[in-house]
Symmetry: C3
């Protein structure tokens, strides 16, 4: 149950720089590669000759060459050539709309006729000297919606991430959830608290005292199909909190692209864009390492939760006020998935 | 096919001293932990909030705290508290009768209303200065009844454990099997034989010559659901065999608690209680290591036997006189399992 | 879908010299061992007593002794003895016709009454001082017919084995495929080309210049059930090519016995018999190591191709002229498998 007529993050550019990449997205096995003029391309990972995975091949002059018998596949899924063969009658394979933008490879696994690059969400922080970005990729064996739940309810930080970003005040401070069209926003503002270890580090990195009371905020924004951007930060108390000037706060955006691999597994692209000391590359590396360790703490919990849910499909789970972010995000998804199912598919027509 | 209204060994106390333990017993995923006043408790390993495994959490003031969002679970399966929530209406999860006794954690996976601590079998050797005990735990991918068969027919020692406790005379000496109520007893007495390597060690450890003829005995006692206690030992010949005085023999009880995990896997708690040199802790360690190696020799055989049986469910196996112990034990089990199935369950009623 | 009334290579003799070998052939779990007078024997890997795998046991005086309780199995599948038991009424297990010949153990997994040693294909190169042989065994998770396809279409060498035996001229030179009875032959002759690295080595080993133009040939012969023998070699140009005298060429036979384990896995016995410098044992080892590395390059491709085909059972693959060898081999197999299915089985009758 996922949207297919939408853009997902499929990979980072470095993953296809040297050789093709085979990756399953929304149940579709896809070969990603750099085709003509180094432009990213994506076709089914299935050679029409004998079914070999094309991602085991190589790229030659913009064509994806099958590593088994040398069939040359074009970016549109049509065979271009094969040694000693006339290829005109070869059956075509699927190709996928694919775009390289904002430091990611985006793929549209559904109906190509509906793909519209303008629908790729804009990333303010990309290629902007005021910002620095670092991130990584985890493979997790869970339904993508469990990760949305996770990110839209940050009370889990108190328990799962107790030694880094968790603190009791998160639990104690109610969050507020609203839905604006397809976007769901859950926000929490804490005032006059001690910063947890991760944010002490952030304050020091921005040349700010780390032992004074701060205001802290978390503003989680879900947008379909499964992106969650979270504004996070702390400011020295009494300077306006979220609206404090840059030299009184440490401010970042947690970036989460959750791409379904199958119904019960995801490619999780996580990262952090920060708006302080953007030129400090060592700080970028430190933050990425720290975030990687923090986010790894969620893996076992999510995978074991998934197993428990599969073992008890009949059980209704609780939907508390803290769960409102995930619940409302799922409502948006359910509505859009139903719309997609009702829509005549030009793929099927073709 | 296992009894559920009965006590099984679930764990050893050290396994829950530091943190909760998640373990599946008779198909039930259970979180074991030390609750109020350090008393052992057992609840379903499934948080009623979002299905996370409670065993990934921690214990705080006697409550099991879910490691995902901080729900506090009570020992009876009722949610006690959760930050910012009223928990009165939360659905309860199962709790399990559980007792710490004789150096083990015992659990009753069936109807709690029928649980009776008096039914836990008495262990003479526990906390008794005349005895010493050492043991371990193996996970084996086989039906628990294959392990009962194994232990109720010790002719396999001649083949599987040829270099330690096996000897030709086991095969050559007929065994006798009787059923007394729910207990099945298979016994074998050998006379005037050379002790095998393990018992040479036992004799020397008890300051007895290891190069003289001995009498040897094996008395296997099955009791439901799946406990097998085996009196074993050797005595210098001519001193009464099994009834010889302690300074003429080396005498032990092999302790086997076979706890079904699923239909085709077990937690196998094995050990040896010995009635000689009980104060010699180095000897306890030596025997445990030796027994661990010997019992590990059964693992591959049992797991491969299980695979063969699953591949050929239609085949009837032979039931020879040496198999009488296992055959009669299964009869007892079949009768009790049928009784249990016929019984109205207060669990279902509740 | 495989032939059962036929001889397959099951093992190499060294695999059963020290202890029994358990191996599944065409879905039959078989214990191979050296029975009376060291003669190879093969019985079901299932003890009639309690289902233990007999291959975990040992051989004593020509009998296969079960390693669990000492049942002695005879080469015909009849229990010979068991300690303390009368075995006359024990059910028999299957035994399999098995022959040691040409450096391999051959087994007939089908109807024993039809087994005829004369049907084992003759190996010219065995025990012949003009030839040397070296080989190995790979387990591959693919349908045996995918490996036949692989070996009957050597254009894949250009892509899969680009750095050793592949070269562009293979692709550029058409092959010719013919069927003679049950044998399918695909041959390709190249003329006036540069030898690829593997054959440069072969030429040097035969004291021939490796930097002159050569003629190269590949003659692939499929015979049922799944043997592919490939005559390969290079000769200095202008000396008759395939028919050149021995001191102008390097000539070998690639030996491929593809034995189905299950519908989607094989035991692949590969090797090379060479007709130059047969006395040079270091060269035999060098060639075996080289061939092992080259053939290992096919493994991932075949296993991933198999997964792709299982994911898309509905897709029809292309059958190009280069695929003719595999296509015609499958036709032979289909015809013979249909014949076998139509035939009354004396096994079933018995």
């Amino acid at each position: 149950m996922f949207l297919k007529n939408t853009w997902y993050v499929a990979a980072t550019p470095n993953e296809i720089d040297d050789k093709p990449l085979g990756r399953t997205i929304c149940g579709e096995a896809i070969a990603f590669y750099r085709g003509e003029a180094n432009k990213v391309a994506a076709v089914e990972d299935f050679c029409p000759h004998r079914g070999a995975p094309l991602s085991l091949g190589y790229v030659s002059e913009g064509k994806l060459v099958c590593g088994y018998h040398g069939l040359e596949m074009g970016c549109q899924g049509k065979t271009i050539a094969m040694p000693g063969q006339r290829v005109r009658g070869f059956p075509a394979i699927k190709s996928y709309p694919v775009v390289e933008r904002y430091g990611f490879i985006w793929v549209w696994p559904g109906d190509p006729a509906q793909a519209d690059e303008a629908k790729i969400p804009h990333m303010d922080w990309y290629d902007n000297p005021e910002w620095a970005y670092g991130g990584g990729l985890y493979h997790i064996a869970c339904d993508y919606r469990l990760m949305i739940d996770n990110l839209m309810d940050l009370t889990h930080e108190t328990y799962v991430h107790a030694t880094s970003i968790g603190q009791k005040e998160i639990d104690e401070t109610p969050c507020k959830t609203t839905t604006e069209g397809d976007m769901v926003v859950t926000s929490r503002f804490m005032s006059g608290i001690q910063p947890p270890p991760f944010w002490k580090m952030g304050l020091r990195a921005n040349n700010l005292a780390d032992d004074v009371p701060v205001d802290r905020w978390q503003i989680c924004r879900f947008t379909p199909p499964s992106h969650v951007m979270i504004e996070v930060g702390v400011a020295h108390q009494g300077h306006g909190g979220y609206d404090a000037p840059n030299d009184k706060k440490a401010y970042s955006v947690v970036v989460d692209f959750i791409t379904p691999e199958t119904e019960t597994s995801i490619h999780y692209f996580w990262g952090m864009a920060r708006k302080f000391k953007p030129e400090d590359r060592a700080l970028t590396a430190t933050i990425r390492d720290g975030q990687g360790k923090i986010f790894a703490e969620d893996l076992e919990m999510l995978e074991r939760q998934q197993k428990n849910l599969l073992a008890h499909p009949e059980r209704a789970l609780l939907m508390l006020n803290i769960d409102a972010g995930g619940v409302q995000s799922r409502r948006v998804l359910d509505r859009l998935i139903a719309q997609e199912a009702a829509q005549p598919s030009s793929v099927l027509a073709a």
